[in-house]
C-alpha cells in the first residue's frame, strides 16, 4: 500500500502495462518530454523510449486513426486526449472506425485501444476544458466506457482497460488528479473486480444515489451529511457507463425504492436518462417515486466564475434526495 495521487496512480498503472506488454504504445500531444499537461505520463518516455511513448503532431483525428492502424498491426495503443473538449475532432475515427471495426470484420480485427480522457469541470479553466462528453460514447455501440473515482481504481482499471480486447474510453476526473489515496500496486488487475462492475460504496436503506467519476466524492459527502438528518443513502459508484452494471443498481433500488442519479454532463440525453429509464423498466413496481436526476444543465459549460452553479454540488444532490424521498425540497409545490 502506498499513498499516491490519482495522477500518480494512473502513471504507475501505465508503467505496468508498458512493462508487461511490449505491444502497449502511448500516443498523444505533449505526453513525452513534458509528461502530459497533467503529468500523468511523467517519466514514461524517458524510461520506455520515443517509440513506446510517442509525442504526436497536433491532430486528434490522426492520433485516433493511427491508433487504429497500430491496432491492425497488433499493437495496443493508449491514446491521451489532452482535454475532454478536444476529443471531438477524433469523433469520426472513434465512432466509424474504432467502435465498428471488430464488428465490421466479424472479429478478425481487434481494436484494443484505450482512450484516456481527462474530463469534467471544477478546475477554473476556460471553455472546452471542462466537458463531460461521456454520453456520446455510451450511445456508441462497440465501445466500452469506464470512469474512475479513486486512485486505487484508477490504477487497476487503466490496466484492465489496456488489456481488454475491445476499445475502452477511460474517463479521468481531472479535478481529482491531486487527491491522494492508498494504492496497492500488487493487486492483480485480472483478479480484481472487473471494470464493468459497479461498486456499492456505502450501504443505505432510504435511497440509492448513483454517481461516477468526479461526483463520487461529492455523493459520499452528501451521504455523510444526510446521516445527520437521519437519512440513509446507499451510494453506488457506477464505474462502467457502457455497459452499466444494472444488476447492482437494480438490487439496491429494489431495497431502497428510490433512485437519484447525478453527473456533471447536461441532463437531456445524459447517462442519468439511461439509468433512470432502465431502472424504471427493470423494477417499476419497486419504485416509490420517480428516479431523480441531479445533473449539469442543458447549457454549454459556463465560464469558470459560474461553473459551481452548473456542476452539481453537495446541496443540490441533497435537494434531489429530498425530492426522491418526498421531503420538502426546492420544487415542493410544483406538479410533476
Amino acid at each position: 500500500m502506498t499513498q499516491m495521487t490519482f495522477a500518480r496512480a494512473i502513471n504507475a498503472g501505465l508503467r505496468k502495462s508498458l512493462e508487461n506488454d511490449p505491444k502497449v504504445i502511448l500516443l498523444g500531444e505533449d505526453i513525452g518530454t513534458l509528461g502530459g499537461v497533467f503529468r500523468v505520463t511523467d517519466g514514461l518516455q524517458k524510461d520506455f523510449g520515443k517509440h513506446r511513448v510517442v509525442d504526436t503532431p497536433l491532430a486528434e483525428s490522426a492520433i485516433m486513426g493511427t491508433a487504429v492502424g497500430l491496432a491492425y498491426r497488433g499493437y495496443r495503443p493508449v491514446v491521451e486526449i489532452q482535454f475532454d473538449g478536444f476529443i471531438y475532432p477524433a469523433f469520426d475515427q472513434i465512432v466509424s472506425q474504432v467502435a465498428k471495426l471488430h464488428y465490421r470484420t466479424q472479429g478478425a480485427v481487434k481494436m484494443p485501444i484505450t482512450v484516456r480522457v481527462p474530463f469534467g469541470g471544477g478546475i477554473g479553466s476556460p471553455e472546452h476544458h471542462s466537458e463531460s462528453p461521456e454520453a456520446y460514447f455510451t450511445h456508441t455501440s462497440g465501445l466500452r466506457v469506464v470512469t474512475v473515482s479513486n486512485p486505487q481504481d484508477a490504477h487497476t482499471v487503466i490496466q484492465q482497460a489496456i488489456s481488454c480486447d475491445d476499445p475502452v474510453l477511460y474517463f479521468e476526473p481531472k479535478r481529482r488528479y491531486h487527491d491522494k489515496g492508498e494504492v496497492d500496486e500488487s493487486i492483480d488487475p485480472g483478479s480484481a473486480i472487473p471494470m464493468d462492475k459497479a461498486r456499492v460504496l456505502t450501504e443505505g436503506t432510504d435511497v440509492t444515489l448513483v454517481a461516477y467519476g468526479p461526483l463520487v466524492k461529492t455523493a459520499r459527502d452528501a451521504a455523510t451529511a444526510a446521516t445527520d438528518e437521519g437519512i440513509s443513502i446507499e451510494v453506488i459508484d457506477l464505474r462502467s457507463l457502457a455497459p452499466v452494471d444494472y444488476a447492482t443498481v437494480e438490487a439496491s433500488v429494489r431495497k431502497t425504492g428510490r433512485l437519484v442519479v447525478t453527473h456533471e454532463a447536461g441532463q437531456s440525453g445524459g447517462v442519468g436518462a439511461e439509468v433512470a429509464a432502465s431502472i424504471t423498466e427493470r423494477c417499476f413496481y419497486h419504485l416509490e417515486a420517480a428516479p431523480v436526476r441531479v445533473t449539469g444543465f442543458d447549457i454549454p459549460y459556463p465560464y469558470s466564475k459560474l461553473e459551481m452553479h452548473h456542476v452539481p454540488g453537495l446541496d443540490r444532490i441533497l435537494d434531489g434526495v429530498d425530492r426522491a424521498l418526498g421531503r420538502p425540497n426546492s420544487l415542493s409545490g410544483l406538479e410533476g
Binding site: A62, G69, L70, R73, S96, K100, H102
Partner: protein
C-alpha cells in the same frame, strides 16, 4: 502472378523521386512508359524499375486487367439483375490498380477505399468475398489478415490514417514491409488525408499514398478540390511525390516500386498521383449523364488502359490468338465462379447481428440478444417473423 516475385529489380538506392525537391515541381512531368498507342517509350529514370518485366509478365498484366474488367462488368450485371445491392465500378482504372497491386509484396498491407477491387484481386481475394459486402451479406468480405488488405473503407480518407498507423507499427517492429493506402482525388480534401501526410512525414514511416485521380468525386470534378496537380499537395508536407499516367500499367508499376523501395530502405512516405479516369458511374446508383460531358468519356476511351497494353503486346507480336483465348477463358471462369458464389451465398442468420460487437460478453447486448431471440421464438417460425420485421 506477382511480377515482383520475378525480382524487385531496379536501382536500390538514390533512385528517382528521392526527395521532396526531386518531384516538388514534377506536376507537369507525367510519368509515362507506354503511349496510348501502345508504343514503349524510354524513360531513363523509371525504365530501370521495370527492366526485368518479361514478355510473360506483360501478358500476365494484360490478363489481370482483362479479368478485373470482367469482374467489374459481371458485378455490374449482377447489380442490374438485383443480385447485388450496389457496385462501385473501377472501369478505366485497371492499370492504376493492377500496376500498383502487382508491385506489392505479400507482407505489405493495403488500406483502400471501396473502389479497389482490382487491387483486392491482386492480393488474392476470394471471388465471392469481393461481392459479399455489395450483396449486403456482410460489412467486410474477407479477413484482412488472410490477404493483408483491409476491407473496403467507405468513410472518405479515413483509411489513410490507418495505413500511416500501421506503418508506424512496421517501423517499430523493424520490418521492411510497407503500408499502402488508396484513395481518390476527392479524398484529398478531407482533413484525415492531410493529417495522415503530417504524421507520415513527421515519423518518416514506410507508407505509400496512392491517389487515383479519376477526375471525379461523384459529380464533382477534380478542379473543385484543387486548382493545382494533386501530386503537388504532398510536397507541401515534405513528402516526395510522383505524377504517373494511371492508364499506363508499366509506368504505374515503376512508380509504385520506386515508392515501395524508398519506404523499405527507411526513406519514408511517398505520394503517387495516378492520373486516370472513372469510365463508369460513381456506383450503380449514380447517373453520370446528369453532370458530365459525353465527349470527355470519349477522350478517355482513347486512352483506355487495356487497349494500350493490347497494342503494346501487338507491337511486340505477343498479342496472339492463343493469349486472347487464354485470357477469355480465364475471365469467363472467374466471372462464372463469382456469379455462382454470389447467387449461392447463404443468407446470414438473424441473430448474427449481435455477433462481434464486442470480443467478450456485454451485459447490455447479451440481454438484448436474449430478448430478441425470445421475440423471434414467439412467432414460432423465426424466418417468417423476420421477414415481417423492420425496414418496411
Amino acid at each position: 502472378m506477382s511480377t515482383d516475385e520475378a525480382g524487385q529489380g531496379g536501382p536500390s538506392a538514390g533512385g528517382p523521386g528521392n526527395s521532396a525537391e526531386d518531384h516538388g515541381g514534377s506536376g507537369g512531368n507525367l510519368i509515362q512508359l507506354v503511349t496510348p498507342a501502345g508504343e514503349r517509350i524510354s524513360h531513363p529514370e523509371f525504365d530501370p524499375w521495370v527492366q526485368e518485366i518479361t514478355d510473360e509478365n506483360l501478358c500476365s498484366l494484360y490478363e489481370d486487367m482483362m479479368v478485373v474488367r470482367r469482374i467489374d462488368v459481371e458485378a455490374t450485371a449482377l447489380q442490374r439483375q438485383g443480385e447485388l445491392a450496389l457496385w462501385p465500378p473501377l472501369l478505366g482504372q485497371e492499370a492504376s490498380q493492377i500496376g500498383s497491386g502487382r508491385a506489392l509484396r505479400d507482407d505489405d498491407f493495403v488500406f483502400s477505399s471501396y473502389r479497389e477491387n482490382g487491387v483486392a484481386y491482386c492480393r488474392g481475394v476470394g471471388l465471392t468475398d469481393i461481392i459479399r459486402v455489395w450483396r449486403g451479406n456482410a460489412s467486410a468480405g474477407w479477413d484482412p489478415y488472410t490477404i493483408n488488405m483491409a476491407t473496403p473503407q467507405i468513410i472518405i480518407g479515413a483509411q489513410t490514417l490507418h495505413a500511416t498507423g500501421y506503418a508506424m507499427g512496421i517501423q517499430n517492429d523493424g520490418a521492411d514491409s510497407v503500408a499502402i493506402t488508396y484513395f481518390g482525388d476527392g479524398a484529398t480534401s478531407e482533413g484525415d488525408v492531410n493529417e495522415a501526410m503530417v504524421f507520415a512525414a513527421s515519423f518518416q514511416v514506410p507508407v505509400v499514398f496512392f491517389c487515383q485521380n479519376n477526375q471525379w468525386a461523384i459529380s464533382e470534378p477534380v478542379r473543385l478540390q484543387s486548382h493545382i496537380q494533386l501530386a503537388d499537395r504532398a510536397t507541401g508536407f515534405g513528402i516526395p511525390s510522383m505524377r504517373v499516367d494511371g492508364n499506363d500499367v508499366l509506368a504505374v508499376m515503376a512508380a509504385t516500386r520506386v515508392a515501395l523501395d524508398r519506404a523499405r530502405r527507411g526513406g519514408g512516405p511517398t505520394f503517387i498521383e495516378a492520373v486516370t479516369y472513372r469510365m463508369g458511374p460513381h456506383t450503380t446508383a449514380d447517373d453520370p449523364t446528369r453532370y458530365r460531358d459525353p465527349n470527355e468519356l470519349e477522350d478517355w476511351a482513347a486512352k483506355d488502359p487495356i487497349s494500350r497494353v493490347a497494342s503494346l503486346l501487338e507491337r511486340k507480336g505477343l498479342f496472339t490468338e492463343e493469349l486472347q483465348q487464354h485470357v477469355h477463358v480465364k475471365a469467363d471462369a472467374v466471372a462464372r465462379e463469382m456469379r455462382l458464389g454470389c447467387t449461392t451465398m447463404p443468407d446470414p442468420e438473424p441473430l448474427d447481428i449481435f455477433k462481434h460487437v464486442y470480443s467478450s460478453p456485454n451485459s447490455w447486448l447479451d440481454r438484448q440478444q436474449d430478448h430478441y431471440s425470445r421475440y423471434l421464438a414467439s412467432f414460432g417460425d423465426p424466418a417468417g417473423a423476420a421477414s415481417e420485421e423492420g425496414a418496411r
